[in-house]
């Protein structure tokens, strides 16, 4: 790659980053104007912190990972900036903590992209797959015993360390994708062409599929036990997507979809909380002020927003319970309107596209599968929660990546971004070496 071309890449990245910071700044200025009637410059500090931290991250990446994708960091920064504005608006108590998590997240992103586990074409990640998986599952099992919920009620998914809480199921998301990518990269030939014939179908070789199903089943049981439906759904979707990407056999997808349908029906029959979610999705209106209050308020928020939105600080999205985390998208719909929600959808689409692009260009099966899995997971998570708040699919409690309040989720999203950055740089390096 010529120097000129690399220069334009950098210019693009910097322009985008500047725009993202400017957007955040403008958001805080208008919040301050609406709430106080004047511009309180001190109130702009989260935008400044985000700006300084993301520019520093950009400088580090330019120095040590110049061939990485220039679009990924600015997109994440813009989504984070939007998230900070929303949290300042909706749940100001959490603002300091969220800013702290953003800075930590950027650090984690740089760490994943540049430190030894990811260097050497991700060899460490690949080689020690069982170690990572065991650690992830161990942490998750610990939450079964010592799990807490910082808000005092609801699913106990967090591990507390003094005043800092972390959600191990978020960590397991990355670990699972790494494990699956590493395992499938080794066995894909066997899974793609092997197996015995049974009439018109070819049955995949069970001994090779066994460990995969075992690991996956174990984690899904753990998640089902913890009633973290959103995470279980993400795992399953990503698992199927990676299996399909590795083997190219549609039969896996159909069988998987069938399994999903069966377990969904079983879940509906067995668990009250599943039935509640599905009923509230199918017809929320009979219980609009009761159990379906949240989803109905979310729909009203979108309707109130219209095309242009009510303007930051001028709507009433706080009527929606936990609007700052699961329902951040509804708040965007009310205050920024269709213009804002469309932009968010496009940003996620571009993020997934760049991830798949890095996967295609990586030139290494493990890296390809890893990038596919990570992009699918990010995209699926965004889709599930955006669809959930819009009543397109039953609601499952996952965060909108980079936007919602939630430290663990933010940190892990940034770790995923770091891995994608590293993989995108691999393709650049390979092209460079030739």
């Amino acid at each position: 790659m010529s120097n000129v071309k690399r220069e334009t890449r950098n210019v693009t990245g910097l322009t985008l980053l500047d725009l993202a910071i400017l957007f955040t700044g403008a958001g805080f200025v208008s919040l301050s104007l609406v709430e106080r009637g004047r511009v309180d410059w001190v109130e702009l500090w989260p935008a400044s912190v985000l700006g300084v931290a993301s520019l520093a991250a950009w400088l580090v990446l330019r120095r040590w990972l110049p061939l990485g994708d220039p679009l990924l960091l600015p997109i994440a920064a813009l989504l984070c900036g939007l998230g900070l504005v929303l949290i300042a608006r909706l749940a100001p108590n959490f603002l300091v903590r969220q800013v702290l998590w953003v800075v930590l997240g950027l650090g984690a992103m740089l760490g994943t992209a540049l430190l030894p586990p990811a260097a050497h074409n991700l060899r460490w990640l690949r080689r020690y797959r069982y170690t990572w998986l065991t650690l992830g599952l161990l942490l998750l099992s610990l939450t079964l015993l010592f799990g807490v919920n910082p808000s005092g009620y609801g699913a106990r998914l967090w591990l507390g360390l003094s005043r800092l809480y972390f959600q191990p199921s978020e960590l397991l998301k990355v670990v699972m994708v790494v494990f699956l990518a590493s395992y499938l990269a080794e066995k894909r030939e066997l899974l793609a062409v092997g197996g015995t014939r049974l009439g018109p179908w070819r049955v995949p070789p069970l001994p090779h599929l066994g460990p995969l199903l075992l690991m996956w089943g174990f984690s899904v049981v753990l998640l089902g036990w913890q009633r973290d439906l959103g995470a279980a759904l993400l795992f399953f979707g990503t698992f199927l997507a990676m299996l399909y990407a590795a083997t190219g056999r549609e039969v896996y997808v159909w069988v998987g979809a069938g399994l999903f349908l069966i377990s969904a029906i079983a879940g509906y029959q067995l668990f009250d909380h599943v039935r509640l979610r599905v009923d509230a999705w199918w017809n929320p209106w009979p219980e609009a002020s009761g159990r379906a209050f949240q989803i109905v308020q979310s729909l009203l928020a979108f309707a109130a927003g219209g095309v242009l939105g009510q303007g930051l600080g001028q709507g009433y999205p706080v009527f929606i319970p936990v609007v700052h985390s699961d329902f951040a998208f509804a708040a965007i719909g009310e205050e920024l309107g269709l213009l804002g929600t469309l932009a968010v959808v496009i940003l996620f689409a571009v993020l997934v596209y760049r991830g798949f692009r890095a996967a295609l260009a990586a030139g290494d099966t493990f890296a390809t599968l890893l990038a596919t899995g990570l992009s699918t997971m990010l995209g699926l998570q965004a889709l599930v929660i955006m669809g959930g708040t819009l009543k397109l699919v039953p609601l499952t409690g996952v965060t909108l990546p980079f936007v919602s309040y939630g430290g663990s989720s933010l940190l892990i999203s940034f770790v995923m971004l770091g891995l994608l950055l590293r993989i995108s740089a691999m393709s650049g390096e390979a092209g460079h070496a030739r």
Partner: protein, 148 residues
């Protein structure tokens, strides 16, 4: 300027910034795809490297001429070779250049007058590694390997 107007203007500015961001993103993607498609048009073999003619001997080859390399490049007098060397001292099937494990390997195919690598005869018992800048000698022709 009243407060309401300022707030309204800010809303417009925020929307403009948001969509300016998306426009820049799309321009970047468009540029990226254009480079990819251009690279695909240039062909896949191109990047492996060239043999540059240094000395042409009595052959119609021209000094400075660049001969593109394929992953399996055969050299010799017969017209079936990838690189035809119509030198009186070249055998019909003279030598073979192979791209394997990220390196170029040169093998003498039992030629009558032997193959030279940097003016040393290449052993006949198997392929040897050739690096960029090495000079391959067949008859009176000298070819330098250039890797991109």
């Amino acid at each position: 300027m009243s407060l309401d107007v300022a707030i309204f203007l800010l809303r417009l500015i925020m929307a403009a910034i948001l969509y300016a961001f998306l426009v820049v993103v799309f321009i970047a993607i468009w540029r990226d795809l254009r480079t990819v498609s251009r690279r695909a048009e240039e062909g896949a073999v191109e990047h492996l490297g060239h043999l540059v003619v240094i000395a042409a001997g009595e052959t119609p080859l021209l000094p400075g001429q660049r001969l593109p390399l394929a992953p399996l490049t055969s050299l010799g007098r017969a017209v079936t070779n990838t690189v035809v060397i119509p030198d009186a001292f070249a055998s019909a099937q003279h030598a073979l250049l192979t791209w394997r494990a990220g390196r170029w390997w040169l093998e003498d195919l039992g030629s009558k007058n032997g193959t030279l690598l940097n003016d040393e005869p290449v052993p006949t018992n198997g392929p040897v590694v050739v690096g960029p800048g090495d000079v391959i000698g067949i008859g009176q022709v000298r070819l330098k390997l250039e890797v991109e």
